[in-house]
Assembly symmetry: C2
Homo-oligomer: 636 residues x 2
């Protein structure tokens, strides 16, 4: 290929790091928080020479590599963290999530493989099973002596889990369950660890006892023998090559008369007696299903986290490269690409998003952790996790794309990492709940809460409630219309805009839903379907408000005074950038004067210029190891 050796200096120009009023290390310490030690431990592992990014093109080889990585992480003792305290774990969700967040800087497939093994497989045994299952399985899962997966999704039933077809019929004579896949479409699909490595699966199936059907339950089912061969009656197929994440062995599984002993029913929420009597504290199949599913919210949190880690990688690469690459210009030197207003306008709001999401997911983890001791209820956490998962993953897709484009042809080179980031993150918008489906779930929960509020009221109070809400809205609208433009930089005022949009959308869609179901006697499903676009807008407003709240809290809490100004600016940019996106809504409803909308745009442009000065330091503070970044254009 090469005819002659050139002796030119091939180094890139230095990344220009302008003076900033804060130390990236100080900001990094704030971001790392109480789990800095865990993060550093993980970084120590994933930067070993054995963790060099996989550069081959054979997916079977890639899968073997990822399994080796997973075992190394487990051998370093990190698997133990996922155990319950009585088995030696720490039951510290924040620490687990710090592991996930850091691993995601390295490789998307490794993140998923780890998430499947410890989070979905181990996690579902922990959440849905009882002590006997914990003792039997979890230590081996943590040590990767037993590999497994989470067999929920079916070919015909992606998002609609309640409709899945796999059956588990109780045989009281033998005291076991007979698992069957009655059709092609009932095959489990996209199941991580299924195609090659998994020995066991947590299988979700419709439980039948005699003539009675009790809905979806989970069972621990062996699928391979000690030699890795599928067990009799179990059919496994490789899902084949994918757009990304080819280091994960996704597969399809069908069962034919696979018998598992009664003990393998994960029985935290329901039990089958030897004689076939069914017992559950949750009486309705529907409620039980949603309770079981609700325990799996951690998977969504990890996706929100991993997506943001990948967005941070993309931003680090793009911002460092545009801070060293010059193109065009009138002076002695060409102009740094990052000094162009167009570059700033594209990248800076995405940087603000990444910070905002970072704080939002951390808050979500705290709330989730506290809820186990009986804090926030299940529905608000389900909404929070769903909304932030959708917001983070959609944002990451856009961020990676814009970052790739900002790096021009260099961004297209495989070595510069966007190829992997883009391909691996792509499916995050779909799995663990399709974003569109999740956002509808958020909106339905919000409507449910509104309904609960109204339920206890008599008609007179309901009327007063709506009147109160309208008065509140009018008052806020008045404040919005009269306050001067400087108020746009007031966090309270920003939050008022976000909350006002959310509550207005909620009351409107709530009113429409009421009219459709009461006056027009439409069934709830049809009414929800009709109102889909409004529901999605509401969920979007909810997620943005949650993220802004988290960001403002994090800024208010920052201990180091040097960190206040840069974070304050980023939070302003986040708030105003999203207000700018929604200015049409505020304007068309008369909630904002035209002058204010224009002031928002001016502020965003100015903030982008100001944040640009801190931009390199802000991505340095993410603390992504060079070995993880990989991209030659971003190093040095």
């Amino acid at each position: 290929m090469q005819s002659d050796r050139l002796t030119f200096d091939r180094s890139y120009p230095p990344i220009e790091r302008p003076f900033t009023g804060f130390e990236p290390a100080t900001l990094r310490a704030y971001l790392d928080g109480e789990f800095a030690e865990t993060r550093n431990l993980v970084k120590g592992i994933i930067t070993r020479p054995e963790f060099r990014h996989f550069e081959g093109h054979d997916r079977h080889e890639y899968r073997r590599q990822v399994l080796v990585w997973l075992r190394m992480i487990s051998d370093a003792g990190l698997g133990r963290l996922f155990l319950p305290p009585e088995l030696g774990g720490e039951a510290n969700l924040g620490k687990l999530m710090a592991v996930i967040e850091t691993v995601s800087f390295h490789d998307g497939s490794l993140f998923i493989k780890l998430g499947v093994q410890f989070g979905l497989f181990g996690g579902s045994i922990q959440q849905l099973g009882t002590e006997v299952h914990h003792r039997k399985y979890l230590p081996k899962v943590a040590a990767c002596q037993l590999l497994g997966g989470f067999a929920m999704t079916e070919i015909g039933h992606g998002s609609n889990v309640q409709a899945l077809e796999t059956t588990a019929v109780y045989d009281s004579e033998h005291r076991d369950f007979i698992i069957n896949s009655p059709s092609y479409s009932s095959g489990k699909t996209f199941i991580g660890n299924a195609a090659v490595d998994g020995q066991f699966m947590v299988v979700f199936a419709q439980l039948h006892i005699g003539a009675a059907s009790h809905g979806v339950h989970a069972f621990v089912v062996p699928i391979r023998d000690e030699n890795g061969q599928p067990l009799p009656g179990v059919t496994i197929e490789d899902n084949g090559p994918k757009l990304g994440l080819n280091g994960v062995d996704n597969g399809r599984i069908w069962f034919r008369n696979t018998r598992v002993p009664k003990i393998e029913l994960l029985n935290r929420f329901a039990e089958v007696m030897d004689d076939g009597k069914y017992r559950s504290d949750i009486k309705s199949n529907n409620s039980r299903f949603f309770t079981m599913i609700g325990t799996l919210v951690n998977g969504r949190i990890t996706l929100a986290l991993a997506a943001n880690s990948m967005a941070k990688s993309a931003l680090t690469i793009a911002i460092r490269y545009t801070a060293r690459r010059r193109q065009f210009g009138g002076g002695i030197q060409e102009t740094l690409v990052l000094d162009y207003p167009a570059t700033q306008r594209r990248l800076m709001p995405l940087l603000a998003n990444a910070y905002a999401i970072d704080f939002a997911v951390k808050r979500l983890v705290r709330v989730r952790d506290q809820s186990r001791d009986g804090g926030t209820g299940a529905r608000p956490i389900e909404s929070l996790a769903a909304g932030i998962k959708a917001f983070s993953t959609w944002t990451a897709i856009r961020t990676i794309q814009v970052c790739r484009e900002s790096c021009g042809g260099e961004g297209y080179m495989f070595a510069n990492r966007f190829a992997a980031l883009k391909a691996d993150a792509d499916i995050f918008t779909t799995f663990e709940g399709d974003n569109t489906v999740l956002m509808q779930l958020v909106a339905k929960n919000l409507l449910g809460e509104l309904k609960d509020q109204l339920k206890e009221m008599n008609p007179g109070r309901i009327a007063r409630f709506f009147l109160d809400q309208r008065l509140k809205a009018l008052k806020k609208r008045f404040v919005g219309l009269t306050a001067d433009s400087a108020s746009l930089l007031n966090p309270e005022q920003q939050l008022t805009y976000f909350r006002f949009r959310e509550s207005t959308l909620l009351l409107r869609v709530g009113g429409k839903f009421r009219r459709l179901t009461r006056q027009k006697e439409m069934d709830a499903y049809s009414a929800f379907t009709r109102l889909q676009p409004e529901l999605l807008e509401l969920a979007d407003a909810y997620a943005e408000r949650q993220v802004l709240e988290s960001f403002l809290e994090a800024v208010a809490r920052v201990p180091e005074h040097t960190l206040q100004p840069p974070l304050r600016k980023l939070a302003d940019l986040f708030a105003l950038y999203h207000l700018e996106r929604h200015k049409g809504w505020f304007l068309e409803n008369g909630f904002m004067p035209g002058k204010r909308a224009k002031a928002i745009t001016s502020h965003v442009t100015r903030l982008c210029q100001e944040v640009r000065q801190d931009a390199v330091a802000l991505v340095d503070a993410f603390g992504i190891p060079d070995q993880c970044l990989g991209a030659p254009i971003a190093l040095g």
Copy 2:
């Protein structure tokens, strides 16, 4: 992998094709237009068994496959079409573009390989050279007996071609040019056909004669001998693995004292006499440079076309799949995914975009073709090609992403084609002119035209001009404010909105530019840089207006009365969807009442529902062969 054979029926449910008021074949005939025969000829070739999509993972093998495909296309006589008439070609740009558009249904790498060989290599010899070059090279290029490339981009100079460093020094003693790469950053990079196949390159270099520098010129330079070995003094490196398009052998080239005879200067616009005297009808280096570059506008047209072909493939797959896939629902059957308002809201505007861009590129091709006989001037065509290239490629990226998401997990399977579409189309936003740079070019041209209008006026007339414009604008604004919502479905009224936005943005940014350069004495480069966001907004408005105009013309011209209603609806959707995107701008400037903005949103939602009825027929009319689509989820 498989333990047991299952005998389930694996076929997908049928794609549901509701009754429509038109035949897809009739619409297809309208889209295919006068070059239907050429399209069918190409389809006949790319659906042969040898053209099965490449499914391997070795990029060297993929490159060999693409070269075989290229030769097959050339052997079928299609290379001949790219020749000038005196050498047996037809000089029919429309026909050439029909070839490009159809080939792009099959494989992105093949499109690029073909574009490099016939369009960039052959095309630059044709456009920048004279008869001697045509006779010497073009027949061999058309027959693929001589493979070559287009060596413009340098490592340090992506978009800023005028700053490239490669030198061509005239040696009057030997009557030849000495080509040199003086630095690492002067290496040619991302050059298609360079890494493996190319024997010759059209090399762009700074021409020096004695002490005089004449700017960038193009030379035909051999880089490999008959055995495929790099010639002495020529260093070639493989660019390595890329995010996509791995069937194209992109490479880097450095020259050390490579001599080419004087005759190899492509001398249509400039000539060097034996004694070293330099002659050109275009006196300024700058104008000559832009004249030369301007002849290469066809490359941008092909990218706009190919991007839209790939968007059409994605839409065909997503719309057919969502018209057979059911999920959730209250009735006997679950609901078709395409029947959800959220799906319609996501996919239908993108379908409208694909139709709009189809007509816009076809008009661009006609205008370009006529310009060779002295029609539209160079600057308007440059703007049109740049604006539509950026619009089409950005739209394609988004379309492919949304289509992938609409197909859920199935969309992530490599077999279902989104992986290739997404990866291959990604770089289209960057090469043949980075979209952001191109959009600035568009805006600068528009400002230039405005300046030309003003130049011939005395100060009094300039004042009157601005007054007239303002009055016109006020009148339109008044019409906009007073006309009722039904007028939103009036094509003339739609166009008025688009034109009004464009002209308002132009006059505003023109005024700002004038103030910055006159009153504040800022240099033009700095002023353009400062105004970048406004310039990009202007260019966006320009491109959208051009696309809408083309669409409306195509609807007005349609001969078959059954095609009027579906195309009319699509055009309405295109117009109102983009008005909806910009409603913030109209509202904040007081150019639209809030009620109108809300009416736009209602219209868009309703139009999405209506277009959904035609959606499958509308993608069937694209006429993409099943073999090209590939995706199992979209066939049948």
